[in-house]
Subunit: 654 residues, 2 copies
């Protein structure tokens, strides 16, 4: 069996896997090389040929069922889900170890303090140091970069395998530092799956002998859907995310592959947890059980809308702080010098400070800091109203009891804890966002939104407690969707919240809250979280620039300074072509209508120009370029009046 | 209050609603006309001006909150939901009347027969006659036409208000004829909402005084999402449908409006049923209560995949029969003659024959024909396995007892009834599809798929009855999604099934089944249900043609015969322009690079050409067209090598 795998992956057996049609010249030379080596003795000749036949037969059967790219999509989904699952398992183990150690040190305040603070500080330093020494571009969420890549920018650094490795290890360390640092995994997972997608694309191309029948862009769009799907086991919101991340135009051709790969990823991710006995069957990640008979009263729609409104306003404040912090870190001299040279030390210091703040005996007990991120979300989404629990808190079942103890500390009330959580977490999150390590920023805002929603829900439950039994968990769900939707300026979080909790009954509330919070967040062309990063990092992502400065969309190309030196006219004569060839070293030259109108007609190759000069050297000046040289036409006609947005739109089609 | 409404809608008060910026010349002349009439006496002058001020103030506040098109989107959603709700109410009343009459005639077989057969026959005749006399293009589902319109075809007949009226009345009659004719309302509703959308667009344009800041296409895409959303109260699947219906490229700019309008439509639709006391709160249309603890065993995924596979194969057979029937009706002389002259009689005859077959005392009792379509779907989606009921059928609660009696008639078993239903309904459905009346074909295939799924589920429940308690309702859900997805070759039915039933737990099974059935249905470039209609009706919908004949996509434009008579060269001289102007009457002429290369550069106006001739009549032949005439450039450069698919893609961007 092992032999088979080796056979499939070894490049020198390439010619056996490709059908005759696909063979290119490169293969043929390779074949000759191999045949000259054939007379060398190799072990198990007979067995090898039999296995080779088997592989060929299997491949034939597979291709007869569906074309090769569908297997690539399936493999992409499964691989990403595998990475996601094993990362989750590792993180859970490390977190459990931390909790066990922390529990063992009960009574020793100093030791507990050291355990609480040094653990995340070391992990953050490790994450930063490791990822930066392997691949510096692995830091951050990666979504802004993925957006730029999907719009056609060439950023090979961000799709390399070394980046993949650095990101996986770094992200595991970041997640293992727990709720102290309060960072998530969605964004990096979109980036990770894009890297896996780029790798699958290279594999697919090499497997078909250099011939390609899916574009790289297609594979990357599919990968972005897979990222979200295999992170939460939520296939449909993954597809919606891939539509939103595209920015301008979504090719409907990618829709089915996206769904297919996302379904493969989500099913693999959930089946793995069934296999590992975490779950009994395929079900939602944060399964809740809300009353199905009367999930909410009709009038509550207005309260859900209120949650959306509040989330929208808090989001504007948060994004403003976030942009300010990013700019501050970049411009403040001591910090920027530290960040330039000693990133790991910066991370360790920040993580230590965050941990000091969240330590139980400092401010931690007022913001339920001892709960992990999963426990925080589960407790906020819980259907039982805390008002009811406060009336009768004896005999609570186990996980609920821990949650209740955390949210209702001896020297406080649950309202105070929730309020403190909402007030302080904005600041802590903004500080955490400046850490130069691989980390996601979606899950933290999702949980934060859940807290905001829960607060509104608990207040409503308290107010209406005499007449009605309200479910504050539903408010938390709507708040999570609304706040994360507003921060990223997308609508897919509404569906994601539903898929994560399995609560279809709350689809309308989540959607209403998300729409309203999005309306507030998008007003006056405010940039989203990712737009802000794109702008500060100066990433080549036009939609961000256009959102920040709407006038840019209608800027005409002629308003840029067009370099006139290397542009050929269609009626260019022999001597000027000779001159241009001597002065410039480009391999391709643009051909315009005339130097006055500057309407781009196409391009012409350097080698073609050389031939043209050679052939017509006797005819002197009378021969024109267009008569003798084949101009490679461009499908898109660029005139100086074309606007920036038109160019961007049309560029997307290639 | 009434006065206000009149004021808003009267075209002569237009200038009051428009801000000063928007005023065009047309408005100014209108204003003058009005001011000249101002001295005429009008009643309630003071009150009128006060109300006018109020309207202006309200408008100012509204526009300061969000731009006008968002109100149009909201109104579009609400209007469509209103139509949908009142149609449902009317249909339910008519159906109840039929059932009451049928019940009264118990014991009188002949009278019952007449009641059963004449009722749908008359309604179908009425539907056909009415819709054809008002607007012949209102027949059929309308989705193929909407797809062509969304791709940029101009088909004003299909978007007129008379068509809207004909379609609403016709569709109500069709639905009122019940499960005998077995037709649905989704397709026509997409068409209806598109018509409402086109109307809203005209309103928006006239409201802004001829100035338009959203394209008509945008409003129509939004309308297509609203159609599905307000038909079932399922906003997210409406958006997915609007993506799928676009065929090639989806503009992400339409994504938010689609979500917003679909949410408005869905919420209005569901709130109306809350107001009418049909439902206690906003919840799913076909609410089910599946066990949440363990919705399905992991191994059942394979059974769900099997459901998808079976649905895919049945779908291929069904679509083949459907295309055959459409062609037969068109080519068979007696039928086509009848259809050409007496459409209503044809409808009446077909409906009568269908009713004869489904009468209880003929074959009706073997195919549960007495249940309405809603009852059929509810009974198939029910969680309790029929095997369990058959073991202990005493003391069933009321709706379940009726369903059980229908599926398990005295002289048969539920397996036999389900089998007969699956076998005969394909034929009945194909016959019903030839009826020339406004009707949807989605709901019937959805129910049919549910029956197929239920059959597999019941067999599994019977086989595993000794060890496990399986839920055949889940299989019905997966089957419904898979079969309707395969017939329409879309994936949104998977989400629709979940939104309709509120069962998020079965998202993965539904998705798996739909993906597999789609794979089978799309294999070998088989056209979908709508593609088949497009091809037979010869609608200008390129994706259908390309699916039926994939070679078409790479056909180059030069392979078409290009009319050379009316094409101008850029270097065209005075005399030839004069000649062309004399011979042709077009208002616009294409300008090409040269008559040899035929690369399209742009267009030029007839009036411009006339000016050109007039100005340069003294200079004779030496003046060329491009030097003196401004050529309106096209953004897309068409060369004879451009393929059909490229043209279609790029056309979508305008």
């Amino acid at each position: 069996m092992d032999q088979t795998c080796v056979d499939v992956k070894r490049p020198d057996t390439n010619e056996e896997q490709c059908t005759h049609q696909d063979k290119t010249d490169a293969d043929n030379t390779e074949e000759k090389l191999i045949s000259s080596h054939k007379h060398l003795w190799k072990p198990w000749k007979h067995e090898r040929s039999r296995i080779r036949d088997c592989v060929l037969c299997v491949k034939k059967t597979m291709v007869s069922l569906a074309s090769m790219e569908w297997y690539c999509y399936a493999l992409l989904g499964m691989l990403t889900a595998l990475i996601s699952f094993f990362m989750d398992t590792t993180v859970t183990k490390v977190l459990n170890a931390h909790q066990w150690l922390y529990g063992c040190l009960k009574g020793h305040h100093l030791l507990q303090f050291l355990c609480w603070t040094l653990y995340p500080a070391c992990l953050c330093a490790l994450s930063t140091g490791f990822s930066h020494s392997i691949c510096p571009s692995s830091a951050g969420s990666g979504v802004p970069e993925v957006r730029a890549i999907l719009l056609g920018m060439d950023m090979p650094d961000y799709l390399s395998l070394s980046n993949l490795f650095a990101k996986v290890v770094g992200l595991t360390c970041t997640l293992a530092s727990g709720s102290t640092v309060f960072l998530g995994k969605v964004g990096p997972f979109v980036h990770l799956s894009t890297m896996v997608g780029a790798f699958m694309n290279r594999l697919h191309v090499s497997c078909r002998g250099g011939k390609q029948n899916i574009s790289k862009g297609e594979m990357l769009v599919v990968a972005s859907a897979v990222g979200v799907a295999s992170c939460f086991g939520a296939p449909i919101s993954g597809v919606l995310f891939s539509i939103e991340v595209m920015g301008s135009h979504y090719s409907v051709r990618d829709y089915c592959p996206c769904f297919f790969a996302a379904a493969c990823g989500a099913i693999t991710f959930r089946l793995l947890s069934v296999c590992s006995r975490d779950q009994e069957t395929i079900q939602a990640l944060f399964k809740t059980s809300y009353p199905a008979e009367l999930p909410f009263q009709p009038f509550e729609i207005f309260l859900f809308a209120l949650v959306g409104l509040i989330c929208g306003f808090i989001c504007c404040f948060y994004l403003y702080c976030h942009r300010w912090a990013l700019r501050f870190v970049k411009t403040n001299k001591p910090i920027s010098r530290l960040l330039a040279t000693e990133k790991a030390i910066y991370s360790a210091i920040v993580a230590f400070l965050l941990a000091c703040f969240t330590f139980y005996h400092s401010a931690g007990r007022f913001i339920a800091a001892e709960l992990t991120m999963k426990q925080l979300l589960s407790s906020l989404l819980d259907a039982t109203s805390w008002y009811n629990i406060s009336q009768n808190s004896t005999g609570l079942p186990e996980p609920q009891n821990t949650f209740w103890q955390a949210w209702n500390p001896p020297d406080g009330s649950y309202f105070k804890t929730l309020g403190m959580f909402i007030l302080t977490k904005v600041g802590l999150l903004v500080v955490a966002c400046t850490l130069p390590l691989p980390a996601g920023y979606f899950m933290p805002v999702f949980i934060y939104g859940a807290a905001v929603g829960r607060f509104v829900g608990e207040v409503s439950a308290y107010v209406f407690s005499a007449k009605l039994q309200l479910n504050p968990g539903g408010y938390a769900l709507a708040g999570a969707a609304a706040y994360s939707g507003a921060v990223t300026q997308t609508l897919s979080p509404a569906l994601l919240a539903i898929e994560m909790t399995g609560q279809c009954t709350h689809a309308v509330p989540a959607l209403v809250a998300t729409l309203i919070s999005n309306a507030v967040a998008r007003a006056k062309h405010r940039p989203s979280f990712y737009d802000g990063i794109s702008l500060i990092k100066k990433l080549p992502h036009l939609p961000s620039f256009i959102r920040a400065c709407p006038k840019l969309a209608s800027v005409q190309i002629k308003q840029f300074e067009i370099p006139t030196g290397v542009v050929l006219e269609r009626a260019e004569g022999l001597t000027s072509v000779q001159k241009i060839l001597n002065v410039n070293t480009e391999t391709e030259f643009p051909v315009v209508d005339s130097h006055d109108s500057l309407t781009l007609l196409g391009t012409v190759n350097r080698s073609l120009l050389r031939d043209f000069l050679y052939e017509h050297k006797d005819e002197g000046l009378c021969k024109q370029l267009e008569e003798a040289c084949a101009i490679q036409p461009v499908r898109l006609q660029l005139t100086p009046e074309t606007t920036v947005q038109q160019v961007q739109c049309e560029n997307k089609l290639d």
